[in-house]
Symmetry: C2
């Protein structure tokens, strides 16, 4: 009744419309390798204009695939929708999966007890693979993934015992320790000497690695830190942690926060305490997401390509699902981190 | 390895812990009716503390249920994550489903061509029902839902031909027309006479109904409008529409925008044009979500209980899935809308 039925355009019609070969259309539609981006986009435009429906229903009968991938974020729904890190990572995943005609299923959860239900769904044959991120060290998710037998890619370096020795483990991460080292080295170069740190939850490797990078940079310069406080990767947590640090060490002249959200909370606490940024206290964040550019003053931060990391997670999973005999086997990816200097530290 | 296995606490243990009967625990766990909120919450706390896993895997073998519900928002992922309306509606859905031990699967989409894939997944036996919202009049989703045979609840009054005559159609909406009427009547009461309107996409019933309410209020007062412009339910669209209205009708003294996001864009355009709010131009929005309270000046708006509407959608679907012989059959729900007066109009 709304045009989903009707005579369907053929693969040949798409090829003629796009001015490419049938084989090229097939490769694009089936997510095969070796098609240049311009050609891929041209074919996708033709697919869209003609309303071509690739026959992956038939394909899934042969492969016993569902054509769907589950995404599980180990955080309650409230954090998923309030932290731009998650929407950016999901954007990358969603775009990559859409280009490869694979359905993204975001499994929202509210409570710890919801994990058991998610485990049952993952084991029920409803998805071909899983992407999991924001894991904490006690998360039941890796065990569930293993139990379900599903190919899985993790976002962030897994931190459970033995993870580093598992040759099949796939993950995408950024160089958290190196990024934090750059951030704190920058503060030292600008003459700051009493540098505090606000960390994320230390049961997450990203938070631990950033704390370690902070300590590395201080040690390399022979500097003492001005305190460490926990900020839970939220703006409210960053604000609380900053107040705590000011109480313990009123003479601090800089703070490195392990995320932009925590840094924006720290800015609020500093303003409330009458400290000028950057004159009295320099502030550096991490992520380079929207809160960094919107902050007042704009935040010096460490950029990681969050959307690109999401794309890579999806891409690694699809390569594990359909190994190419020609290409290299899928392997963990660690992307570089890059300091972005703005007004909050200069 | 992470505590998902191990000896499982029994229903009896939960009953003893919560100090209620075994039957009450069973009703809470299986989402049955007739349990008071305090008792429900007490049982849920015991379930969580003891780590009780309800045996719905066994239940689903009997009922052939998957224990999962799909949520499809007929918008690209970028809008889903930037418009607080969607996160609020999802919050309500997620909370209600979690309390009833049902898994929420959010199906993200990027392009129109992704609908075909979603249709295949919905027809594949992977979910028990579907919740769909932000439908446009040409959406293929209702046809897909019908084809899949899945029980479905819509968010917003469906607008396709014949929808109003379908006795089985379930939806949750708010009184958009009445809400808009209140908004514009308020502007008239405050002495505004040249009132413009910024509408959402007119292929959505919510946008159409709000426009109609605006026209109703003007007609009742015998007032002429000061122009109508389209704002696409986004902040950028609202900004563009406001510029257009000012160009066409420089003497306008008020604007009613069909969403808070569009109203916040209108505020930006008014500021850029040197108009004071509310002295020169009064502004009223719709939704009463975060952008309304954060706006400068804070926005007069029409409140709808978006989270509550999400809860009701989930609740209606679960009632359709498990009809209670005692209760009334599930039926469409239209919630009231209420004017909230703030500084932007007074």
């Amino acid at each position: 009744m709304h045009g989903v039925r009707g005579s369907r355009p053929t693969l040949e019609a798409v090829a003629a419309h796009a001015g490419v070969s049938r084989a090229t259309v097939s490769r694009v539609v089936n997510g095969g390798p070796g098609v240049r981006t311009e050609v891929r986009e041209k074919v996708q435009r033709s697919v869209e204009e003609l309303g071509y429906v690739p026959n992956s229903a038939a394909r899934s009968l042969v492969t016993r695939r569902t054509g769907a991938v589950a995404v599980v974020i180990a955080e309650p729904e409230t954090r998923v929708f309030s932290d731009p890190f998650f929407s950016q990572q999901l954007r990358g995943i969603s775009r990559e999966l859409s280009e490869r005609d694979t359905q993204l299923l975001l499994m929202l959860l509210e409570h710890r007890r919801d994990y058991a239900r998610i485990g049952r769904y993952l084991s029920g044959g409803h998805v071909d693979g899983a992407l999991m991120f924001s894991l904490h060290s006690e998360d039941p998710l890796p065990a569930m993934a293993a139990e379900s037998g599903l190919p899985t890619v993790f976002g962030g370096r897994p931190g459970w015992p033995g993870a580093e020795k598992d040759p099949d483990l796939l993950y995408v991460d950024t160089d958290n320790r190196g990024g934090a080292r750059q951030a704190v080295a920058h503060l030292l170069e600008r003459g700051r000497r009493r540098i505090a740190v606000i960390t994320g939850p230390l049961d997450q490797t990203s938070a631990l690695d950033r704390l370690q990078g902070h300590r590395d940079a201080l040690a390399a310069a022979g500097a003492a830190g001005a305190g460490e406080a926990h900020g839970a990767f939220t703006a409210e947590g960053g604000e609380r942690a900053m107040r705590e640090l000011l109480g313990r060490e009123p003479e601090l002249d800089a703070v490195f926060a392990g995320s932009d959200l925590m840094a924006s909370g720290a800015l609020r606490a500093l303003r409330a305490a009458g400290r000028r940024v950057p004159e009295d206290v320099a502030v550096v964040g991490y992520d380079d997401l929207e809160p960094a550019a919107w902050a007042d003053p704009p935040l010096t931060t460490v950029r990681q390509d969050v959307e690109g990391m999401g794309r890579m997670m999806a891409e690694l999973l699809l390569r594990r699902l359909d190994p190419s005999p020609a290409g290299p086997p899928p392997a963990p990816v660690v992307t570089p981190a890059q300091l972005v200097v703005r007004a909050s530290s200069t």
